[in-house]
């Protein structure tokens, strides 16, 4: 299990292909916060996202923030209070269109994606990063600045652009080669479950 540092957004697909399930990764550069309602707006309501998502790292989040100012058009700037990560599984159906239509290359969340994410990630060269759910105090220190907020009316489920430094440690949960730690853990646990129940 190797250690990597990857800067997002990426332009070279090999940056993703070199990652293997179980590897530890630290992320630099820019990441984009996204959540249920943001993706429902893009894919179910057909609204084009007002941010470039090619080569992007998406974080499943809805942060605690403080509004610090507002420009003439009413667009706000925000400072961080506490930023953490939500459960990914609810949003698995957006994986394939995010990769195919918008060129997203990494999705980060907690709790993992079910097996239906394995094939599109393999085909499109995408990766799922597991973060530690609930470890938001630490995560907040690794987010240097909230650079942009779009779709403020969905607060807190807006599109957020964060600049990060040493974001992690992340674990590669699903790689672009068809491997999933979650699939492996579930397969072993289900076999164990049968054995445990047989003991009763």
């Amino acid at each position: 299990m190797a250690n990597h540092t990857v800067t997002f957004p990426i332009t070279d697909p090999n940056e993703i292909l070199k990652l293997r399930a179980g590897d530890e990764v630290t992320v630099q550069g820019h990441i984009i916060g996204i959540r249920d309602r943001t993706q429902i707006r893009i894919f179910d309501q057909g609204v084009e996202p007002p941010m470039d998502l090619s080569g992007a790292f998406l974080l499943h989040t809805a942060p605690n923030v403080r509004k610090v100012s507002e420009d003439a058009e009413g667009k706000g700037t925000y400072e961080k209070i506490c930023i953490g990560t939500t459960t990914s599984a609810r949003m698995v159906r957006f994986t394939e269109p995010l990769g195919r239509q918008y060129g997203v290359r990494a999705i980060c969340g907690k709790g993992g994606f079910p097996d239906e994410a394995i094939a599109p990630m393999h085909e499109l060269g995408m990766v799922y990063f597991a973060i530690v759910g609930g470890a938001a105090a630490l995560e907040t220190t690794q987010i240097e600045e909230i650079e942009e907020v779009m779709w403020e009316e969905l607060m807190p489920e807006c599109l957020w652009k964060f600049r990060v430094k040493d974001f992690g440690p992340l674990t590669v949960g699903i790689d672009a080669h068809g491997n999933s730690l979650y699939h492996d853990v579930q397969t072993r646990a289900k076999a164990k479950l049968e054995e445990l129940i047989a003991r009763f």
């Binding site: 605690n64 953490g84 530690v132 609930g134 105090a137 630490l138 607060m155 853990v185 445990l196």
Partner: protein
């Protein structure tokens, strides 16, 4: 000396709620810290150790920076134990808890999670129709009020399960259902946490009991020795599943299994599972009939 009961005591309750909500979110109880340290010491898988090390670091940063442990400020769930002679009626206690929750949300500020269940529009500063949620117990021959605040995150609450087992399923049916539920939940509820199990009563009451079980200090045992034995057994079995920290595989899947029970109908055998994430936040206050407040972790 007299106090204006309906205004002054209601303000005391409001102040207590505002404090409890934020305190619970920032400073996790010592029993939980100890359980997480034990987990860190005994985990052997590489991803599992990475997770528990990160949790340890996160709790320390929340302490040193006075920040929230987890960004999910949850739904504020309160349990009140109201003495028979406490001079403020529960309707006013509820208003105090609601106003305190809202005030903490606005003043800190905290993320507001409350939405209308059909429109999904935000309904206010972590309050709304029937929010916050308050459970009531009434205590005879007493004039005090105890309030426990448990902000409940959605990642773990989404991993709630109910099965109406039949009497012929017996205890075996209960054990199988708890194990299947936690294996199926995988990494989603932020393991390792507290598995709350409610058995007996009716369908709704079993789930309430499961929620009550997750609000106990980690590792406390049910006073009924039969139930305590089941807690021990399930705790051991759950940690044999290999789900591990954040579902990435490992030795520590749960910090504890707590069970609450009620007697039931001869044809019923309900079992409910309510999960509490590793950030099992909990804070309490005792309020006297004259408004003195003492903050504590437990009733």
């Amino acid at each position: 000396m007299s106090i204006d009961v309906t205004t002054d005591l209601q303000h005391v309750v409001e102040d207590a709620a505002a404090h409890l909500y934020v305190w619970a979110l920032k400073d996790i109880p010592q029993d939980l810290r100890d359980a997480l340290s034990d987990a860190r010491a005994r985990e052997t898988s590489v991803p599992g150790k990475r997770v528990l090390e990160t949790i340890h670091k996160n709790v320390n940063i929340a302490d040193s920076q006075n920040n929230l442990v987890c960004q999910d400020t949850g739904i504020a769930v309160y349990t009140c134990r109201v003495g028979e002679h406490f001079p403020l009626h529960p309707t006013r206690i509820y208003e105090g808890l609601r106003d305190g929750t809202a005030r903490a949300t606005v003043e800190h500020p905290l993320r507001s999670n409350a939405v209308h269940t059909i429109t999904r529009e935000n309904t206010g500063p972590n309050i709304g129709y029937r929010l916050p949620i308050v459970h009531w117990e009434f205590i005879p021959d007493w004039d005090g009020l105890d309030v426990k605040c448990v902000p409940k995150g959605s990642g773990s609450e989404n991993m709630s399960f109910l099965k109406m087992c039949i009497p012929a399923d017996g205890v075996k049916g209960i054990k199988s259902f708890v194990l299947e539920s936690i294996v199926g939940a995988g990494g989603k509820p932020c393991p390792p946490g507290i598995v709350g199990v409610g058995i007996g009563g009716t369908a709704d009451y079993a789930m309430y009991l499961a929620k009550e079980a997750i609000t106990r200090p980690v590792g406390t045992r049910n006073p009924d020795p039969l139930v305590a034995e089941l807690e021990e057994e399930l705790y051991g079995l759950l940690n044999e599943t290999g789900i591990g920290p954040m579902g990435l595989g490992g030795d520590v899947t749960v910090l504890q299994c707590h069970i609450e029970h009620a007697d039931t109908h001869m044809t019923l055998n309900p079992v409910a599972v309510n999960y509490q994430c590793w950030a099992a936040r909990r804070a309490s206050a005792h309020i006297s009939s004259t408004g003195e407040t003492e903050f504590d972790r437990e009733f």
